[in-house]
Symmetry: C2
Subunit: 297 residues, 2 copies
């Protein structure tokens, strides 16, 4: 809700407001959120702390195509509506990596894709009823082939672990792990994984796609037998051009940092980059705050 | 979700993204939201259009103190949780103004304060059950004294009209209507209305407080027999000092514009105002975009 930052000249900028509504001038805190320390050093934040939801449920489902995930998502938005708190997806290559490398067990049979849905609400009876109705309908319509439901914390943790261990499992696949964090309009999101498999499937150890479906956020990982800086020159233009074509973001939730500064033009217009540079110059004329990061030189 | 703006030098800045996640550099659209045309002319926006909720309910309640509204709000957050879509309040002076001036009828007896609660959800049966349970509990605990419930659109519109006609009704009270739109921490929000009544109650035609309780946003109106610019010099320091004392905002949802530019220091620190001026200077060095507005000279 608020941020305190120390600026390049030592000024302490206090925007630690906790107000839900405040229209007195520019919303300065927003400039610092995601600025990766290039405009000031954030020294304090104010956060909203909503109470823990009374009822949490998880379901883990198997589907046979990416299109079916989209259908399930649409139905979840309608049937689960206000209690839908997570809608994640994984492809079967993720399963292969976590089962081979980390010996984790999946609670359902093998399918081309998996969906993890979490609900959070204020009334356990209502939430269960909504989730049951949703599951009945996606099963009856043949959208979902298989699934399990959990509401006990230990079983929910096990299911979340399947999703959250993918990054770790891929590290075990070898040193040549090229990781991307992109956002795209949902209908176009997974096709870049297919393109990667067409181009590099023969050489790659593993190529996986998973992520935050509801946010249109894909974690694309291409694991090659070795890590080679030269390969980036082949790989990245394909991924970033595809992202640009569909007006996506080459850096959805992780930062731009040092590595992606030169690629920011794939997601932002020249005018936007110029305005960002102008802001950086205004806040940090000597370029002392996290230099060489985020913006291209 | 996104904004397109024309800058002072004619540059068209396209930040019309519709992505939920995008971390490629500074979040420029946020600078334009609420900037009142001082940084650029907004020429297009992209908006999220969520579907109309399947179920909407309204309840209008009478309570005997401001403290009871706070108790009811706490209970509503717990019992209605994810379906709570509005929590508004009015004092009895609002009722007097709309009944005298606009001949509107209230659906319940007279009380010191009124609460309007709206729920929006995906399942009518669940929503009604949650609302009934909430109402039973606030009645049983003596928090709420009286109330009515509506789910038919015509009756819901009538109730919303009671809330939304206050501003119009006050205009009928005479030309000396001094209107303020402030946000404050909820426990301190209404006391400024009491302070106004203590100081100006004898001369005033009417002094009312109402607003968006859940947002901590109070609409304070002091209606005097005549409008007098000199009176502002007495009135505004009291309201704005009170707001500053509790780290509130002197301009919660309406803009700062021309009138409140010189008062912005009550809500923002000197450093924040300096940074805003620096941003304004960077974007509009010739001062041609909506001049004299928002920032003090």
């Amino acid at each position: 809700m608020g941020v305190e930052a120390v600026l390049a000249d030592g000024t302490i900028l206090d925007c630690l407001s906790t107000l839900k509504k405040d229209n007195t001038g520019y919303d300065l805190k927003q400039l610092f959120i995601g600025s990766e320390g290039t405009l000031g050093v954030v020294t304090a934040v104010s956060l909203a702390c909503p109470p823990v939801p009374k009822s949490v449920n998880l379901t883990f489902l198997g589907v046979d195509s990416y299109e079916k995930i989209q259908e399930a998502y649409k139905m979840a938005k309608g049937k689960l509506g206000e209690i839908l708190s997570a809608f994640e997806f994984l492809d079967n290559s993720c399963r292969e990596s976590v089962t081979e490398n980390l010996k984790l067990k999946y609670p359902i049979d093998e399918h081309p894709f998996y969906i993890l849905i979490e609900t959070s609400g204020s009334c356990a009876a209502h939430d269960t009823e909504k989730l049951d109705e949703f599951l009945e309908e996606v099963m009856a319509e043949g959208i979902v082939l298989d699934g399990t439901v959990a509401s006990e914390p230990s079983k929910m943790n096990e299911i979340w672990k399947i999703r959250e261990s993918v990054a770790e499992a891929l590290l075990h696949d070898g040193p040549g792990c090229y990781k991307y964090d992109i956002s795209l309009p949902v209908p176009h999101m997974y096709n870049i994984v297919n393109i990667m498999r067409e181009k590099f499937g023969n050489e790659a150890t593993r190529i996986v796609g998973y992520g935050h479906f509801g946010d249109g956020n894909l974690h694309l990982n291409v694991v090659m037998p070795t890590y080679d800086q030269e390969f980036l020159k082949i790989l990245e233009p394909i991924i970033f051009e595809y992202t640009k074509k569909y007006k996506g973001s080459i850096s959805a939730e992780h930062g731009v940092g040092f590595k992606k500064a030169k690629h920011i033009h794939y997601s932002r217009t020249p005018e936007a980059i110029q305005v960002m540079k102008m802001i950086k110059q205004t806040f940090d004329p000597k370029g002392i705050l996290n230099p060489y990061k985020m913006l291209p030189s």
